[in-house]
Symmetry: C2
Subunit: 107 residues, 2 copies
């Protein structure tokens, strides 16, 4: 493994951007609707979620599907490239569960 | 896997902070000296490297060892908790190699 790799750097910046990791985790666990995604991450504004979803779409990780029903149904799902992040999310989650302590919720 | 986990969120923020992922990768591949770490990441200033190393030390991922030789030798190595990130770094690197294209260097 080389000490530095631009692709690794780009990947970590995509995943590490504020809330992107949490949104990807929520999508991986099967959350597809905007309102449900918004509820998943405490403290994330709708505006930021919308921005992040657009970025993830532009990066080829997420697909936005619009069903022309009444009301219109909008769903966000992972592309195969996005689904492949499951191993990354799992390895981070496993490390966090082993090494990080649970902090009391901020009051 | 829960849709949201504060420990996962903390882990991803630790790793995803600008240059932290690259510094961790350099440490994992056996780079220990400040000057070598600084050379590893193109575009990272010494001041920022110093700041990130202090953060990684405070988070328990990195140990700073000072050998009182002439000149003084300072080495940075990973703690067991830091070394355990190898699986995370490898999973991100593997994903990046599979899904991200090599971009031409910025001119």
């Amino acid at each position: 493994m080389a000490a530095y790799c631009p692709r690794y750097q780009r990947a970590i910046e995509m995943i590490g951007r504020r809330w992107s990791g949490a949104i990807l985790r929520a999508l991986i666990t099967g959350t597809t609707h905007f309102a449900d995604l918004a509820r998943t991450v405490p403290g994330m504004s709708d505006r930021l979620l919308s921005e992040r979803l657009k970025e993830l779409e532009a990066e080829g990780l997420v697909v936005r599907t619009v069903t022309p029903s009444t009301p219109v149904r909008i769903e966000y799902t992972l592309t195969p490239m996005g689904q492949a992040l499951l191993t990354v999310v799992e390895s981070i989650a496993g490390w966090a569960e082993t090494y990080l302590e649970v902090e009391p919720a901020a009051t």
